[in-house]
Symmetry: C2
């Protein structure tokens, strides 16, 4: 009898799993339930769509829906929302605009993703308040930005990825931008060095930066008119809330599927939940961290793609681990790039049982005599007891994103700082000094570890 | 009694060793004999000096001589040539313009570097024929390029690093350039994919490329007038020979110091030769290859710096391994960058006992929808038996140099192709597709290894 692989959620994790499972086992019935209209899209591209670098929302779609259906023979059902799971009878209740039905499964993947966190701020429901965690939200924000030339001043709440990328997008439209961050620095998971460099860049690009500032209320009538903090009221024409995401775990929880300590769905090394033949992947699920070995929740695109693909392979009969995450990330902040990997926060490292030692170095991105080079700042963290490298951050104008990958690879290889110091990395004057900045950071850090 | 650390050769390996030894053990007498006038310079920058990107030859100097003497208290003797070593009595014969003397040592480092290979071509001694392996050669070539506006057509012999970088430099001066390479491709150690891409780039930039072509004779009177091959005679106003390098082993050989199979000085993991307390490092010495575990001769700048530094540390009392090499290299070829690491040649891999499998993929350097991205071509080679990744090449316009370092790190970590496929690498639309091209290459290669 034909087995059914049912997938709830049609973005990165879900569609990667669907494609891989069907490719590896064409006899499998692969059914995808997506409550919205969009599948397989790059939400990470939304800021660039709003900015104008990407002209059509459709450009963000990696694989058009018809290709899943026609070429890959996947039963893709958009506008179908899974509302309940019965893990005993292996049936999912599905609602559409017109009907409710039951869909049985042999294997189930929960890939329901995450949604924009709604911070405890009064007035989030006023007109002119946006978030950016869906294609529809992106379309609304774009139309807001383009259709109303009267919009002169916008507020961004949150100094994480979305907040910073959107500050850049709004500035590209010549809007005044006030950015509010509750914590004393932007990009808190990137550490102080990066936070300070990016804050300086934001200010240089004309962003009015309010750190350590809690927004209390979005004031106005129907429409938002001002952002209110304990100290002041800043008049604005619109607000973008980028305060992080929360995993969409409700469907899973109601079905008795266990969450981990992070609040995302707990999974094992194959992406399995506590319910038989029920998997979870992507922004809704935890993954094991390569440095700590503990479950972590780092909702990023590659993690979702990779885990989805591995689960698809497993369901098709070839048991495959979902892999570990290093929390590797990069973002563009105007002319700067900021990157991180591993455990860079010292208290986080201590909690994980390490005795962290860290250094911050400044080094040129090219040979000192080659024109056009810029300075990079690298913070590298190692464990005093084992000598292991635990993580790093890099900030600078060029050669940031893929330089951090060298450290990410070292984390996956469980290398020591000394191992990193002695890696044979590429050198030519236009691309690097003789000692790549990563090597220099490791060299200095090793001196402190001895 | 104060011990003497004597170093023969004042470039990367020698000066790194001198600086490190003196810093770690200030009681050590550190003496450097350099037969020329320049020390601690970046020969890799010479093409950019000739091109005009670097305005002064002095800019290529990493640390000025007076700093070694005054700040680091190193007894630096330029214009002093070591002409003989007696490893029994631990004495070196030194010649200057005016005297000959004996210098005793407790520890000796041979860092005599390499020189430009003279290919078996008739007429290399004519005027207008240059090589580029010393600062003085760089100065002569620059003055040739600048002082004679009558120079319209130059030939480059050799399609390696120097040949390609110099073709770019000559084209920047609007000269016609004919490049002759004996083998059927340029950059043979980078494999076919890179060779073809770089050849296409050279042609597009107006370089007249003669592959598979042996130059037989440089014809002319006192001065070179034409490059002659079996087929034709190409009239030229000057010739740059970049046919590789040969290690300067003569001094060591005469002292009974053993060479390895590659023709460079054989050393152990601490850089020691067969003679007691005699070390060798840099372009004159072999290093162990991280993939094969066998001695290799890859004369590059980082290797020299790193090994020199480690030997300095060892001599100062802290025994330190010189590390292994992966043969990681990158070069700029007009708008392209070409990079390599590890063992990428299948017959070389077979000789080393592997069963190589390779794939070549094309992938974008940025998210498909983000403007300005270009295509990268990656060839990755793995071992069928163990699944280990053996090496990779990358060619493209952006994100090449530091992407190859990710693979280099994987080589140092002795990772499998599957390990690489599951690395958590950085992603943001301006810097990479969700699956970094390195991951895509690993994914495809793993499919072929199963």
């Amino acid at each position: 009898m034909t087995e059914t692989f049912l997938i709830v959620g049609g973005d990165a994790a879900g569609m990667s799993a669907a494609s891989k499972a069907k490719r590896d086992d064409p006899d499998l019935d692969v059914v995808v339930l997506e409550r919205g209209e969009w599948v397989s899209y790059g939400a990470c591209g939304l800021p660039y769509y709003v900015k104008g670098d990407v002209s059509e929302l459709e450009d963000l779609v990696a694989v058009p829906p018809e290709r899943f259906v026609e070429e890959r023979d996947i039963d893709l059902r958009t506008g179908h929302e899974a509302t309940a799971i019965d893990t005993d009878t292996r049936r999912v209740t599905v609602e559409t605009e017109t009907e409710t039905y039951e869909q049985s499964y042999d294997y189930l993947l929960i890939a329901t993703g995450a949604r924009a966190l709604e911070p405890p701020i009064d007035g989030l429901d006023r007109e002119g308040v946006f978030s950016l965690h869906s294609m529809e939200a992106g379309r609304q924000l774009k139309s807001f930005v383009e259709s109303e030339p009267g919009i002169e001043h916008v507020a961004v709440i949150g100094g994480g990825y979305v907040g910073i990328e959107m500050a850049e997008a709004f500035r590209a439209h010549d809007m005044e931008v006030s950015l509010f961050e509750m914590l004393p620095q932007v990009l808190p998971t990137f550490g102080e060095t990066v936070g300070e460099a990016v804050a300086a860049e934001l200010r240089e690009e004309g962003v009015d930066l309010h750190l350590d500032t809690q927004v209390q209320r979005l004031a106005g009538d129907e429409r938002v008119r001002a952002v209110e903090t304990a100290e002041e009221s800043v008049p604005v024409d619109g607000v973008l809330v980028g305060a992080g995401v929360v995993p969409n775990t409700e469907l899973a929880e109601a079905a008795g599927i266990e969450l981990g300590e992070t609040g995302a769905i707990a999974t094992d090394e194959y992406g399995r939940t506590n319910a038989p033949d029920v998997y979870a992947a992507g922004d809704v699920a935890e993954m094991d961290h390569v440095v700590t070995g503990e479950p972590a929740h780092v909702p990023l695109a590659l993690t979702a793609n990779r885990a989805g693909r591995a689960i698809g392979q497993t369901v098709a009969g070839d048991r495959t681990r979902v892999g570990e995450i290093a929390g590797t990330a990069v973002l563009k902040a105007f002319d700067l790039a900021a990157a991180r990997t591993g455990i860079t926060d010292e208290s986080e490292a201590r909690e994980a049982g390490f005795d962290p030692v860290s250094v911050t170095i400044t080094a040129p991105s090219r040979a000192h005599y080659y024109p056009g080079g810029t300075e990079l700042e690298i913070t590298m963290v190692g464990d005093h007891d084992t000598g292991r490298v635990l993580g790093a951050t890099i900030v600078g104008e060029e050669g940031v994103a893929k330089r951090v990958d060298t450290v990410a690879a070292a984390l996956h290889g469980e290398m020591t700082v000394a191992d990193v110091e002695y890696m044979d990395l590429s050198y030519a004057p236009p691309f690097s000094p003789t000692w790549d900045p990563v090597l220099t950071a490791a060299k200095v850090l090793r001196g402190k570890l001895d």
